[in-house]
């Protein structure tokens, strides 16, 4: 039986063999691997790209104080982007399952319709949830739009839910029983994280401070976007830092949401504020990397 980290090594090496850059996680709070610049910005424009990375993804509202065997505030995603998507992408994906020891002749795999949409990122795609013996192990998406921009090359995004996949491989009822590495369980590594962040996210986070943070990051992002329009030497303009501000806003939004501080009526409006920033950065990014193509986009 492979440990959590051995399975990870195998998956990384599998995708490395298929031309992917193996990146490290982005060093900021994100709700999903899709939000990292390695996905969100790299899928824009006509340049092919292949990358894979593990992204710890924070979903404050999903926290369960470490008490639920399958729900986590923070779970590890393996994010794979192949841009453009090769014709045999699904076979490659199935090959990755074989590579970590799943004998596909003895298991049931189904591709069930599940289209992905992120209103905060102005992004959506078409795809499936991949079911292995009745368990969702992967979200598979062909991106169509990101930051409100129609994509030139359609990437395939493969997002493995690592805890689920490994608890399946190790036959564990609870993710906390996963063997991370011999002698060390998932609980040893992460349980404190789950408990403390659940307490913070649900009970102690200061709503007023979070709103202030949201406003500050929004303002900073918007200031940069306004500045970009007038800035002479566009190539050196800090759009990546501007995008970091979008991620900060998104995380503040998720925390406020978990804290129950956003009513359903407000929700739509706050999402629209984050989307406006994300779309602004995406368009500027297109302009910066390819001025001609971007003028078509905005026209």
């Amino acid at each position: 039986m492979d440990s959590f980290q051995q399975t990870l090594f195998k998956l990384k090496s599998y995708w490395s063999d298929r031309g992917c850059i193996i990146q490290e996680p982005y060093d900021m709070e994100v709700g999903a691997g899709t939000m990292c610049p390695e996905t969100f910005l790299r899928v824009l424009g006509p340049k092919p790209y292949r990358v894979a990375y593990v992204q710890p993804s924070r979903r404050p509202a999903d926290g369960r104080y470490g008490e639920n065997p399958n729900r986590l505030y923070k779970h590890q995603q393996l994010q794979v982007i192949l841009k453009p998507s090769p014709a045999d992408i699904i076979d490659q994906y199935l090959g990755s399952l074989e590579a970590i020891g799943i004998d596909l002749r003895k298991h049931d795999i189904k591709f069930e319709e599940d289209n992905w949409e992120s209103p905060t990122l102005g992004a959506w795609g078409i795809g499936w949830q991949v079911m292995l013996d009745g368990m969702e192990i992967t979200q598979f998406t062909y991106f169509q739009q990101c930051g409100g921009v129609d994509l030139d090359l359609v990437p395939a995004e493969i997002t493995y839910g690592l805890e689920r996949l490994v608890s399946f491989l190790q036959g564990k009822e609870s993710v906390y029983d996963i063997e991370w590495t011999p002698g060390v369980s998932y609980a040893d590594v992460r349980l404190a994280d789950e408990v403390q962040f659940s307490v913070y996210n649900f009970e102690l986070a200061d709503v007023g401070a979070l709103w202030q943070l949201f406003d500050l990051h929004e303002k900073e992002c918007q200031r940069l976007l306004d500045l970009y329009k007038k800035y002479e030497d566009k190539q050196r303009f800090p759009l990546l830092p501007a995008y970091d501000q979008v991620l900060k806003c998104s995380n503040a939004f998720n925390l406020l949401d978990a804290r129950g501080a956003i009513s359903v009526t407000e929700r739509v409006g706050v999402i629209a504020r984050v989307r406006k920033l994300a779309v602004g950065v995406a368009h500027a990014w297109m302009d910066q990397s390819n001025p001609v193509a971007a003028s078509e986009v905005t026209a």
């Binding site: 639920n68 065997p69 399958n70 729900r71 453009p84 998507s85 014709a87 699904i90 076979d91 199935l94 596909l104 002749r105 003895k106 298991h107 049931d108 795999i109 189904k110 591709f111 069930e112 319709e113 289209n115 795609g125 078409i126 499936w128 292995l132 013996d133 009745g134 368990m135 062909y142 169509q144 129609d150 994509l151 030139d152 090359l153 359609v154 399946f168 036959g171 009822e173 009513s263 359903v264 009526t265």
Partner: protein
């Protein structure tokens, strides 16, 4: 020569619910192309799995029929110069022209035999267009911006006309004679012919026939398995090689309500529920795999484990939700938007309570129970269980109310208040439930119509048609004394409800549309009364006298219209002016029946009343046979019109006979 044709569109997994409509659409598009291009042939089979849409046709001609194309030249009288010029233009000599005689005189004419184009070439031209036109609710592109769109990426195309490949390209895929098998049980690349296509697929793990896949699944569903046609259909189109496995779960989960267990199994895991002899849920399930067997039991173990986790979640939600009773959740509904312009679910609750009081008073329902149910009606929207299992809204509210000791009448009303969910679904079981369900639906309808959100075309995001359908069904089937005019509806909404009523009486109840029109034309305020009049009308309609009398009533209506007599206008008959014989007899029969019919109508004995009216037929026939309405004496004529008008007016209160479509 008569040729067979095969098309297979090989694709990544198509959503199950889109497959059958897509197949039908493909068949229509292809049949139209055959007709349009004069290729002969018919579609003989349409089959599909998640990864392929397959069309078979037979009897195609090898080419279009040859045609004679005639071009008319100059008149013969124009002389040889013009004729030579025409021949030259046609690329022939004078000798190839003929002279034809038309009404305008003699003309030169050139007839050219045009050879029909080859079917192979035409198909190669039209197939890309056909594939691109297949309708899917949501499409994608994958070959790059501006590229072809389809439901999922197309990975191979088989197009064979007899032995020959029909050459074309769609979305950068070239057509050929190579198919692909089951992802895990078959080869990725399999040469096929029209004759062996299906068997080659079978040898590679794909059962092409949906009927056969269905039978395979059904063979694993014994009598203990709860029937579920929709789930069965989903699984037929989610698999290429289905087989069933039976798994078990810990009976301790049976403490949870069955509704919750079976929803988790059905909606989240696509499992069939299993029942014990007494119709109660048993601690097992049937799952359908997309492989032929599970020799080591690994798939069963995996599915059991997933289900255990799901049930654990449900149990957790149940426990947590009980910590805050429904009544304490009502205020939280202020934070749940019903609709931007119509406010929160809290505001909706306040409106529904008011409406429930009115409807309870009118129907004699228990006002206290109905009001309490209305108060708690939407509180379950704030529970974790409903957030997780949204399809159980209402049902969860009812279950929680029961667990929290609310009166059974209240619980059942909350439980049922989304009913009927469709045409075939039953209405709420209790009067309290019916009242609450009506109030909820009427509030939604009034609210949405009030802010200009009536459904248009296929757009009906708030499912207002279903809500209106539910209103009609509840009023009629529960026989509630609720005339539409007492519900303070706008004209637009009344029309909308009547339109749904027509739909209901026709599609659900099976009445004929002219019967429905006839009854509604008389009056439509009380839908329960509409129902009993319709039922009587349908019973009397096949009797001997009915349709001929209906035809006569139409004739009367035409006569009156031509004479500009307003229908229903007061018409005094002067018996002194009546001609003895048929006219006078019709009059006395009319007088005799009028009182009988009126009495029967008031007693709601519509069948007897209609039979009495129909018995008038011989007298009416005789009248039209012997009497001229347009008598030269104006006074006599007016008197006859008055007699006819009285007949029509007095006897149209149950149904307007002139709306009945007759063959006479």
């Amino acid at each position: 020569m008569s040729l067979p044709f095969l098309l297979e569109i090989g694709c990544e997994e198509i959503p199950d619910w889109m497959i059958q409509p897509a197949l039908k659409n493909l068949e229509e598009l292809f049949t139209a192309a055959l007709t349009q291009n004069n290729l002969g042939g018919t579609v003989t089979a349409m089959e599909a799995t998640p990864r392929r849409l397959v069309l078979r046709a037979e009897g195609l001609n090898a080419s279009q029929p040859n045609e004679i194309k005639a071009t008319l030249g100059p008149p013969k009288s124009a002389g040889p110069g013009a004729a030579n010029g025409f021949a030259k233009k046609m690329g022939v000599t004078l000798a190839d022209l003929e002279v034809i005689t038309s009404p305008k005189g003699e003309y030169y004419n050139f007839s050219k035999a045009v050879e029909g184009r080859k079917t192979l070439d035409i198909l190669a031209e039209v197939l890309p267009g056909i594939i691109g036109k297949i309708y899917f609710p949501k499409t994608m592109y994958w070959t790059g911006k501006g590229g072809a769109r389809f439901i999922r990426p197309i990975r191979w195309l088989v197009a064979l006309l007899a032995e020959e490949v029909v050459p074309f390209e769609f979305a950068e895929v070239k057509s050929g004679a190579i198919t692909s098998g089951h992802r895990r049980l078959g080869a990725a690349s399999i040469p096929v012919t029209i004759a062996d296509h299906q068997e080659q697929l079978r040898a590679n793990g794909v059962i092409l026939s949906a009927a056969e896949r269905r039978a395979l699944i059904e063979s694993g569903l014994d009598s203990t398995v709860k029937k579920d046609e929709a789930l069965l259909n989903t699984l037929v189109y989610l698999t290429e090689c289905p087989s069933t496995i039976r798994g078990n779960f810990d009976p301790q989960y049976l403490e949870l309500p069955q509704e919750i267990l079976s929803t988790v199994m059905r909606h989240h895991q696509r499992y069939f529920s299993v029942e014990d002899g007494a119709g109660k849920l048993a601690a097992s399930f049937v799952a359908v795999m997309n492989i032929s067997s599970d020799p080591d039991g690994l798939v069963r173990l995996g599915n059991e484990r997933v289900l255990r986790a799901r049930f654990n979640d449900a149990r957790f939600f149940w426990k947590v939700d009980q910590q805050k009773e429904l009544v304490d959740r009502v205020a939280d509904l202020k934070n749940v938007t019903f609709q931007a312009k119509l406010g929160s679910y809290f505001e909706k609750t306040v409106r529904v309570i008011a409406l429930v009081k009115d409807i309870a008073a009118a129907t004699g329902a228990n006002a206290n129970a109905a009001t309490r149910a209305a108060e708690l009606l939407k509180a379950d929207l704030t529970t974790d269980m409903v957030k997780e299992l949204t399809e159980l809204q209402g049902i969860v509210g009812g279950l929680y109310a029961r667990a929290q000791g609310e009166p059974e009448e209240v619980c059942q009303a909350i439980y049922d208040h989304y009913k009927p969910l469709g045409m075939d679904d039953s209405i709420p079981a209790t009067l309290t439930g019916q009242v609450v369900a009506l109030a909820d639906k009427l509030d939604t309808l009034k609210g949405c119509f009030g802010v200009g959100m009536a459904p248009t075309g296929s757009k009906d995001p708030f499912a207002l048609r279903r809500a209106a359908q539910g209103v009609v069904k509840i009023i009629v089937e529960a026989k509630l004394p609720l005339p539409l005019s007492t519900l303070s509806l706008s004209n637009e909404l009344t029309e909308f409800l009547l339109d749904r009523a027509k739909f209901y009486f026709k599609e659900v109840r099976g009445f004929k549309y002219d019967e429905i029109n006839a009854v509604l034309a008389s009056s439509h305020d009380d839908l329960v009364d509409v129902d009993s009049r319709l039922t009587s009308l349908a019973q009397v309609r096949p009797t001997e006298n009915f349709e001929p009398l209906a035809a006569s009533f139409k004739r009367i209506q035409n006569i009156l219209r031509q004479a500009n007599v307003e229908s229903g206008a007061a018409s005094l008959i002067d018996p002194a002016l009546l001609e003895p014989g048929p006219e006078s007899e019709l009059h006395s029969e009319f007088l005799r029946l009028r009182d009988i019919v009126e009495a029967q109508r008031k007693a709601h004995d519509y069948r007897a009343a209609l039979e009495a009216i129909a018995s008038l037929r011989p007298k009416v026939d005789l009248f039209f046979d012997k009497i001229l309405v347009n008598d030269p004496d104006e006074k006599v004529r007016q008197n006859r019109l008055a007699l006819l008008n009285s007949l029509l007016t007095e006897f149209s209160a149950i149904a307007d006979f002139s709306e009945i479509v007759t063959q006479h």
